[in-house]
Subunit: 449 residues, 2 copies
C-alpha cells in the first residue's frame, strides 16, 4: 500500500500546495492582533484575502493597508509578497531537487543547458542567480526611490521605508501600497512613474529573460543567442504595451484627457498600459475612465505578463501562439513558424488549453459574482474589471472589492490562486499520471466552426 | 496574365461573396418604396441592416417588421431568410460543381461517401435532399402552426400567414417575427412554444445530422452507424441546452420567477435556453432578467449551434473539442479521444483558431461599440448582449440596437456576416493558396501559461 511520495505528489502539486500553505500561514500572521494598528480589528476573512492577494502578488485589497496594519503587519505583508514574487522559480527548482524528478521544461530552458548536464551544484547556482537578480533589482530600486523620496518625506527612515516597499511592490508586480493611495500622490512626478514602470517591466518580463540578458552582457561568448522564448515573450510584451498605450490615448483624448497637456496624456496612457499587465499600481482612480478604456484595461490584465515571471494572465506566449496560429492558417500553412523556428505542437496545444480554461473560468466567475451580488446592483463593468484583475493577478481595482459579499470574495481568491500558479501548472497539479495506451483509436474528422 | 477563375476565387471566397451579394440585393429590394407600408419611410441603412440580419438569419432588427414592411417587403424578407437559412450547404455544393474542385470535407461527410465515388448525379441528389428536408420540415411546421393559429386569428389567411412565417423563422433560426412582438403573445401557450422549440432544434442541429437521421430511419442497412460528427454535435447541443435551462432556473427562481408556477418557470427556462442557441425568438422581454442570466444567455449565444446548420456561434464541436482537449490533458494523454474515435490534429487546431478569433473579435467589437456609444451611456450588459447576439447570429435583443449609432450598427452587421459564414470558412476565404515549403525550421520549445 505504500507509494513513493514523488508518485503521489507531482512537482506541480507541490507548487500548488506550497502556495496554499503560504497563504494560510500568512493569513494567520496577518490576523494576529499585533499585526494590526491599535484600535483596528481585522476579521479573518480580511486577513485571508490580504494574504491570498499578497502571496499571489495581485494587490487587490479589502482594507486600506496603511490605515490597517502595524509595522509588524506590513513586515509580514512584505514577506508574503517577496515569497510569492520570487517563489515560483525557486520553489520549482527546490521541488526538483527534493524529488529528483526530471527537471521541468521551464527550468531546463532557464538555465539553457541540456538536462543531462544539470548537476546539484548547477541548481544551487541557478537559485542563487535568481535571488541575486531579484534582490539586486529590488535593492537598486529601493535606493533610487528612497533617495529621491527624501524630497517628499520629512524623515530619512520614512523615505527609505516608502522607497523599499515601493520597489518591492513594483518589481514583484504586487501593486500593494503603504502610501494609502497607491502612486496617486506622484501623478505629476514622471521620474517616480518611470522608475516604477521599469521595475514593473523587470518583474513582468520573466526570469528566463533576465537570466539570458545577464548571460548576454556578462559572458564573452560570441555564440550566444537569445532563446525563442525570450524573443517571443519580449516582443509580445512590448507590442501589447504599445497597443494598450495608443488605444487608451485614442479612446480618452476627447474624454478624460480632454484639456490635459500632451505629457499628462502620454504618462496616463503609458502608466496605465504598463501597470495593467500585472503591476496593479495606479496614478489615478481608474473609475474615471470611460467604459471602452476599462474594457481595454481588462483585456490587458487578461493578457498579462511573461510566463515564469511575477505577472499573471494568459501570458504573452499564449497570445503570441494564438496569433501565429491564425496567421499560419490564413497563409495556408499547417506549421507555425516565427523567428526562424517552429513552435512545437505540444506548446500550441497548451496555448489552446490555457485560452479555453481562462475564457471559461473568467466567464463563469463573472456570472457567479453577478449572481452573488444580485441584490446590490454592482455594475457589470466593475465585476468584469475586478475578476480580470484577480485572474490576471494585476490588482487594479474599481473599488468594489471591499464591498463584495464573502462568496464573491472567495471567488476572487480562487482566481488569484489559479492565476498565480498559472493555468498549465494548475492543470498539471490536478493531472493524473501519464498513461501510455498501447492501442490507438481510428481518427475521424468532424466539422469545426 | 490570365489565371483560372478557380485559382483566384476559392470556394470559400465564393461563399463569402455570395452572402455579401445577397445582402446587397435584398437591401435594395427592402429599400424599394413598395416594400414599406404606406406612410412609412425606410432609410437605406435600415434596409441594409434588415437585409444583413435576414440573410445571416440573425433576427436583430432596427425596425418593427410588422409595422414597417408591406406584404411585398415581408415576402422579400422571407426570401432572404430562406436563402440565408438553407443557402450555406447548397451554395457550397453548387460552387463545387461549377469549379470542379475537390469536395470540401463538410460535404463529403454529409453525403457519407468517399469523394472519389461522388458523381454529378449524386450531388444533385444531395441538393435535392437538403431542399426536401428543409422545405418538408418548414411545411409541416407551417401546417401545424397555421391550423392551431385558427384559434387565435379571425381569418384563415392570417392564421396560415402567421403559421408559415413563424415556421420559416423558427426552422431557419431567423428569429424575425410578424406578430410585432415575437412570441410574447404565446407566453402561456406551451403548445406553440414546444412546436417552436422543435423547429429551432431541427434547424440548429445541422443538416448532416438530419440527413443521417433520414438515412437511419429510411434505409434497411443494418451496418449504419452515426458519424463522429453527429454524435459529438448532438450530445453537446443538448448538454448545453440542459445546462442553460438549469442555470437560468437556479439564477431566476428567487428573482424574475418569484411567485410563478412550476410550469411557467420550466417553460421560461426551457424556451430561453433553446432560443439563445441561435433561434432568437422570445416569449418575454429579456431585459427583465437579472445580470447573471443575461450573461449566461450571452454565453449560450456565443456557443451557438452545430456547424453546417442555420445557427451560429463558435459551434458545438468547437466547445466539445475545447473540453475534450482539457480532459485529455488532465488525464495525462496527448491525444484526444471520444466515442471510440480520435479527434484529428487539424480539427483541434481549427477549434483553437475559431475560439481565438471569436474571443478577440467579440472583445474588440464590444470595445468599439462602447467607444462609439460613449456619449449615450448605453449599459455595458446591453452592448455585450447585442454583440454576442450578432456574432452568434442569434437575434435576441435587449432593445438597444435601433438606437445605436451607425458605426455600431455597421459593427453588428460585420459580426452577423462573419458569424453566418462561420469563422473557419471566413478565414479560408481570406486565405492564401497553400504553400508547400521544402525546408523545415528547427522546432524550439517555449513556456506557455
Ligand atoms: K499585481
Ligand atoms: K437567429
Amino acid at each position: 500500500m505504500q507509494m513513493k511520495m514523488s508518485k503521489i505528489l507531482s512537482p506541480f502539486k507541490i507548487i500548488v500546495f506550497s502556495y496554499i500553505a503560504a497563504m494560510l500561514v500568512f493569513s494567520v500572521l496577518l490576523f494576529l492582533p499585533m499585526s494590526s494598528q491599535d484600535g483596528v480589528s481585522v476579521s479573518y476573512s480580511e486577513a485571508l484575502f490580504t494574504s491570498v492577494s499578497a502571496v499571489s502578488v495581485t494587490g487587490l485589497s479589502v482594507v486600506n493597508v496603511s490605515e490597517t496594519y502595524s509595522s509588524i503587519g506590513i513586515f509580514f505583508l512584505a514577506m508574503a509578497i517577496q515569497l510569492g514574487g520570487i517563489g515560483v522559480m525557486t520553489l520549482g527548482t527546490f521541488v526538483w531537487m527534493v524529488l529528483g524528478k526530471k527537471i521541468p521544461l521551464s527550468q531546463r530552458m532557464l538555465i539553457m543547458v541540456d538536462q543531462n548536464q544539470i548537476s546539484f551544484a548547477g541548481l544551487v547556482k541557478l537559485m542563487r542567480g535568481i535571488l541575486f537578480v531579484a534582490l539586486g533589482i529590488e535593492l537598486i530600486g529601493a535606493f533610487i526611490l528612497g533617495t529621491y523620496y527624501l524630497n517628499y518625506f520629512d524623515s530619512t527612515l520614512e523615505a527609505f521605508y516608502q522607497g523599499a516597499f515601493g520597489a518591492l511592490s513594483a518589481f514583484t508586480n504586487a501593486g500593494f501600497d503603504v502610501t494609502g493611495e497607491s502612486l496617486i500622490p506622484f501623478v505629476d512626478d514622471y521620474f517616480v512613474q518611470l522608475v516604477n514602470i521599469l521595475l514593473i517591466f523587470a518583474g513582468a518580463i520573466g526570469f528566463p529573460v533576465l537570466m539570458e540578458l545577464k548571460e548576454y552582457f556578462s559572458s564573452k561568448n560570441s555564440n550566444f543567442r537569445f532563446s525563442l522564448f525570450t524573443k517571443i515573450t519580449t516582443s509580445t510584451y512590448f507590442i501589447v504595451f504599445f497597443i494598450g498605450m495608443i488605444g487608451l490615448w485614442l479612446i480618452e483624448r476627447t474624454e478624460f484627457y480632454d484639456g490635459m497637456t500632451w505629457h499628462q496624456q502620454l504618462f496616463f496612457s503609458m502608466f496605465n498600459s504598463a501597470t495593467a499587465r500585472s503591476g496593479g499600481l495606479a496614478t489615478m482612480d481608474v473609475s474615471n475612465l470611460t467604459l471602452a478604456s476599462l474594457l481595454l484595461i481588462s483585456g490587458l490584465m487578461i493578457i498579462g505578463a511573461s510566463p515564469s515571471s511575477v505577472g499573471g494572465g494568459i501570458r504573452t506566449t499564449t497570445l503570441a501562439v494564438m496569433f501565429l496560429t491564425i496567421r499560419s492558417f490564413a497563409q495556408g500553412r499547417s506549421d507555425v513558424k516565427v523567428f526562424g523556428r517552429e513552435i512545437h505542437q505540444e506548446d500550441r496545444q497548451k496555448a489552446f488549453i490555457v485560452l479555453s480554461v481562462f475564457v471559461v473560468g473568467l466567464f463563469a466567475s463573472i456570472i457567479l459574482i453577478s449572481a452573488f451580488e444580485s441584490s446590490s446592483e454592482v455594475a457589470l463593468m466593475a465585476i468584469i474589471f475586478e475578476a480580470s484583475s484577480a485572474f490576471g493577478t494585476c490588482g487594479l481595482s474599481m473599488g468594489i472589492t471591499p464591498d463584495l459579499t464573502l462568496p464573491s470574495q472567495l471567488t476572487l481568491m480562487l482566481l488569484m490562486l489559479i492565476g498565480r500558479v498559472g493555468l498549465v501548472a494548475f492543470l498539471f497539479s490536478i493531472r493524473a499520471n501519464e498513461k501510455k495506451t498501447h492501442f490507438k483509436y481510428p481518427t475521424e474528422r468532424i466539422i469545426i466552426g
